[in-house]
Symmetry: C2
């Protein structure tokens, strides 16, 4: 069955790979599944046809026959469950990999998104200069223990998994700020993710759309 | 095998059920699994023994034989995968229920936590009065489409699932603010969750700790 995902007609980041379709493309590349992309405009994202696929009017979505999904965590998990290579076979190791998927989107990403909101949505507000250090502190509250847990390992729990795919994707959003450079092992971890051939193919595919 | 979870020795909410162990207790009650609780102090949460279980030094954790997990989404999913009653049998319906689990923690909860941060962590800051309406607007940006999707249904996708358990748990955090009352169907949805016998048992169990 054909897999079709949606992506921005034109990504706000101009093709830096930070739009969330990159995570889904990466997962599909890791497991070797071909996919088609339907580009949507900001206007179309809020229209009934797209809202039927994604109630919050965002990208990406995932369609495969009768199945329609949204939320990158759920889509990546769906791909990981059905194809080999993104989740360990051992039941306990698999549960821990899923734990890292949730940790990426629920414990690490919210602090990082606060920075995006502070800089972009509230960038012109009178309080932003004074408030930014607090937002940055809350990111360090996440990065410091994450760095401590990773230690000198290549990946968070044994072999590369969907948990790493999600965590690297979330940490990539910090690249413009340089905050991750305070943690050399996390910076190397992100670079290790970016060096994977599957990531490179995913990045190139989204760039091709946005450089067009 | 005995299941042991961790919870606050004394919850910051004084037993209103908003600490995250309630979600895990609820899931275990839904599937009829007994569990033990180890209470941890704020100091103990940051010590090596607890950090080995939860790298970010939080509660709850979940231990079952050799397996140790953290992140409520992952723990609830683990419980739902191993016991009947929280995930549909049909593969597509199951994938959609998992989608709602991720939507709860990645799309809805971050906006709600921003309000908690603004009121509690930044409550004494000079910008908070002026900034709060923006934070509230971002919550409505999530609640409005969620309300539209729920419509007149009892649950988000067919029968009650782990997706509803997580979404109701996240929405419960809005109760003190009253924001959810602008959406009668969401308020009724949360009340429907709270009325479940399993939720009531979970709530009573955490209250017993905190009222002690």
């Amino acid at each position: 069955m054909t897999i079709t995902i949606t992506a921005f007609e034109r990504s706000p980041d101009g093709g830096k790979g930070l739009a969330r379709d990159t995570r889904v493309r990466w997962a599909l590349e890791e497991v070797g599944q071909p996919y088609e992309v339907r580009l949507v405009s900001f206007r179309a994202m809020k229209e009934p046809a797209h809202l039927a696929l994604h109630p919050f009017g965002q990208i990406p979505t995932y369609e495969e026959g009768d199945l329609a999904l949204f939320e990158t965590g759920a889509i990546v998990f769906h791909i990981a469950e059905r194809h080999g290579g993104l989740l360990p076979e051992d039941a306990n190791a698999r549960a821990r990999a899923i734990t890292w998927m949730f940790a990426a989107v629920n414990t690490v990403e919210p602090a990082i998104l606060e920075l995006v909101t502070a800089k972009i949505v509230e960038g012109d507000k009178p309080w932003t200069t004074e408030r930014l250090p607090l937002v940055v502190d809350r990111i360090h509250d996440r990065l410091k223990p994450l760095s401590a847990r990773l230690g000198s390992a290549d990946w968070l729990d044994g072999a590369f998994s969907a948990g790493d795919l999600m965590m690297v994707s979330v940490l990539l959003r910090l690249k413009p700020s340089g905050l991750i450079n305070a943690y050399p092992n996390l910076a190397a971890y992100v670079a290790r993710g970016e060096a994977r051939p599957a990531y490179k193919r995913a990045f190139a595919a989204q760039l091709a759309v946005n450089a067009g």
